[in-house]
Symmetry: C2
Subunit: 504 residues, 2 copies
């Protein structure tokens, strides 16, 4: 790249430009590395691969080389996949969704901590996770006065830049310079006892700065790249997703009619995936206008809602789009920049802000039990899928917390409503509404037994209803306590049958 084309506009920093291999060589065995990246957006494209090659080399020479990898959330094969493939990760946090990574973790070859996303930055500030040695952060450009223009995600980048000893930047010229102005980096956070209220009262409030501050002395390397983000493709919503979306839309209309929701609703948070996208597609045709979103990731469905004018404003920490949606986004960046703000994840997921705004939270789950406890992370109680992510930040502090899943998995052989979940991520206290394609269970104001009856009747698949009713009825007789009746000797029999390959 010639100097004229380069986006490293700060003269004093130009001498730190080098290759990815040279930059990766500055990382030491055992370092904890804070990398950018959130749901496949804004992750470093070149250094993780270079580091993986270095690790592979060292390992093949018998020199055990591992690092700690901290990110915003999930990344992409070039990062998690590359490093996990060479067994280069000692400890991974706070969220991942990579197949190779997952396989390593579940094989017991890699340590992983999934953490509430709103806890990560502050745990690092507090010194609870150990020392952060290096930051590896993708940016869109470096301004003449040395400030950093963020790329398609913010995640924990502010924290990595502030806390790491050394900083390595990837300046990605495939990211659009017109992103400048779409970010809001809040520099008002403090450690207790010096904390002040976060002055944010609506999703569109600007409380920070459009660029990252950085101490130039800490920048040890700059790598110039030109590579796109991982682009998630969405399938058209399937029948189950459409039915789940339908139940949610009916329910929201009912709540407006009852006066429990304003007619333009409240800010929406939506998990990732096909069901979430179907709900957003449903809103497209629904009666609600002037909607807002306060969420983690802006995906295709929300972009479409902004385009159509249904969604007036969206706050997130990442933009993660399909190839087509990305084209639309870039061609109309000036339009979207007026309607989207990206924030650090300690703000996008902040309990204070979520509670204040009164979010309608909609998240996916693996399974729920008859009392409404939700498992979002551990298949059969021991195998990690992705991680809790921000679902707990939203569920606990939402105005309304909904969890959704098809009523069965694995071709109908597994029920997603079970007697007892073998891993709890969200307790019954944080689950107001459960939705499957079968129906919606409104659990507000219900005791555990009333919840059980509602969940079984509304949400379970007809194939599994009789067995659930049977378990519950027998628990009503045989349980030592009748507050939350359970038969501990068979509470996991469904999972044990499934593990034995016999379905539930």
């Amino acid at each position: 790249m010639t100097q004229a084309e380069s986006r490293v506009l700060c003269p004093a920093l130009r001498n730190r430009i080098m290759s990815a291999d040279e930059a990766a060589a500055l990382i030491r065995k055992g370092d904890n590395i804070g990398m950018s990246g959130f749901t496949g957006a804004g992750y470093p494209k070149a250094i993780p691969g270079a580091l993986a090659r270095r690790i592979h080399q060292a390992n093949s020479e018998g020199d055990r080389f591992k690092v700690g990898i901290w990110t915003g959330a999930s990344t992409a094969p070039e990062l998690d996949g590359a490093l996990a493939s060479v067994a280069g990760v000692e400890m991974r946090l706070p969220y991942q969704s990579d197949p190779v990574c997952r396989q390593r973790i579940n094989a017991g070859e890699m340590e992983y901590i999934d953490i509430h996303l709103s806890h990560v930055a502050q745990f690092v500030w507090f010194g609870f996770l150990g020392h952060l040695d290096v930051a590896v952060v993708e940016v869109t450009g470096i301004t003449e006065d040395g400030r950093l223009i963020p790329s398609t995600s913010i995640g924990n980048n502010k924290t990595w830049l502030d806390e790491a000893d050394k900083i390595i930047l990837e300046v990605n010229s495939a990211q659009d310079m017109n992103l400048l102005g779409m970010h809001d980096i809040y520099y008002g956070t403090q450690r207790p006892p010096h904390r002040k209220p976060i002055p944010l009262v609506a999703p569109g409030d600007r409380i920070g700065e459009p660029t990252f501050r950085v101490n130039p002395d800490k920048i040890v390397a700059i790598v110039e790249t030109h590579a796109g983000d991982r682009n998630t493709q969405f399938s058209a919503p399937d029948e189950n997703s459409r039915r789940i979306a339908g139940h949610i839309l009916d329910f929201l209309q009912h709540e407006v009619k009852k006066g429990r929701l304003p007619k333009d609703l409240l800010p929406l948070q939506s998990g990732v995936g096909n069901i979430a996208n179907a709900v957003l597609a449903g809103l497209e045709d629904g009666p609600f206008e002037n909607l807002t979103a306060y969420t983690e990731v802006l995906q295709d469905g929300m972009l479409q809602l902004i385009k159509s004018g249904k969604l007036a404003f969206a706050s997130a920490t990442a933009v993660s789009l399909s190839t087509d949606a990305l084209k639309e986004f870039r061609e109309n960046l000036a339009f979207y920049r007026e309607r989207i703000l990206l924030r650090p994840q300690e703000i996008s997921n902040h309990p204070e802000v979520i509670r204040r705004l009164g979010i309608i939270a909609m998240n996916g789950m693996i399974e729920a039990d008859i009392y409404g406890n939700v498992n979002s992370t551990h298949v059969m109680g021991s195998q990690i899928m992705n991680g809790i992510g921000g679902s707990g930040d939203f569920a606990r502090n939402a105005y309304l917390s909904m969890f959704m899943t098809p009523s069965t998995a694995k071709g109908g052989t597994i029920s997603c409503i079970v007697p007892m979940v073998p891993h709890v991520d969200h307790t019954e206290h944080d689950v107001q509404v459960l939705v499957t394609e079968q129906g919606l269970a409104d659990l507000r104001g219900l005791s555990p037994k009333q919840r059980a009856e509602t969940i079984i009747e509304r949400c379970a698949h007809p194939d599994f209803k009789p067995a659930l009713r049977d378990y519950y009825r027998r628990a009503l007789k045989g349980s030592p306590g009748q507050h939350t009746p359970h038969l501990l000797d068979e509470a996991f029999s469904w999972h044990l049958r499934a593990l034995a390959g016999r379905g539930m």
Copy 2:
């Protein structure tokens, strides 16, 4: 009581004074009643009993009479005991600790919802729990201009007074008029989307008013009483409690030395009970000065710390003292009024404020599993003990969240560290430190497997360590996933043995 002695100073309200029986007669079958009371402080003393008599009468005539009882938290035999004894409660929320109540719930004769205490008020404002018909609230007095002087707890009283159709007041002349000025009733709350930051940045900040506002037209009855609160007696800390306290104090000193806590710590939250009291007693002799507390209930231990000058300020929602401590408190009320504020529980337990202040949270538990998931509420997974109370508000949002218990229960036959808890109130994500008399497990930055090794070695009782190690080692081999290894066919075998009367 003569008019000269009466504390109903507002002339327009004097004609509403009547007997408890007359007042109870204004309550209808099926009403939802919001009663005052938090941890045995400030509950109505006369009307619950009168209501219980009325219900008993109706029931004995074959007329099924039940009501819904909503409170701040636990009350006393005169309220929960009296109403539960006559089977008068259809639905109880959000927290109780009464033996008769508990027995009814666990026998399946009474519905109960335990709710995060910070959720209760807003769920009522939002209309999520149904209609509130009557408020029955104890106050210390009624001022000439018709404002209400709160008594020894605030709890949800502001919400009950605001939301109920009818208000019945108990004016208790056994409460000290000098309490006036110790309360801070915040009237700035709103429903979303109109919420603003709560302007509280230190435990001693005053953000509200010393008395309750009330619409006089809603007051249908005033009953004059003269009766003390339930007075909890504390036994001197036993050996286990002292050892738990010792581990916590060592840990706090270590954290100060490492720079992870300021030398005057951060605001303390402490659950109720003997262990909590032992920790506070330990602070009395410890090196920390100028402490503060931001907690739910102020008990003997904290009063002592204030008296000795170690604790500069305490914010709570209730004062619940033993007879001796109450004497000390009343004799020096002017002194304590400068150092104590009582707030509505939506503020004492507010996630926004707890997170901002950076609380050190210390709560009791029934049991924890080897991965750090905590059961605070359900003995053997199905029998309710008390309820989650505010423990989740504090644990999730604390700077440091600790849970403590003796390592065994029931004469050493039951281990409080188990392979898997049969009910989860606090997930591993919200538990940074576990403490038993055996030791303290610092779980920060540890993956599930590392947590298991630490918890077993540090916290389990020697009688149960070998069996826990054995379970964990076999899970490391036989678990389908190695992220959080478990053997689902024996995860509850410990509880099943205990249920069979064979101990764990």
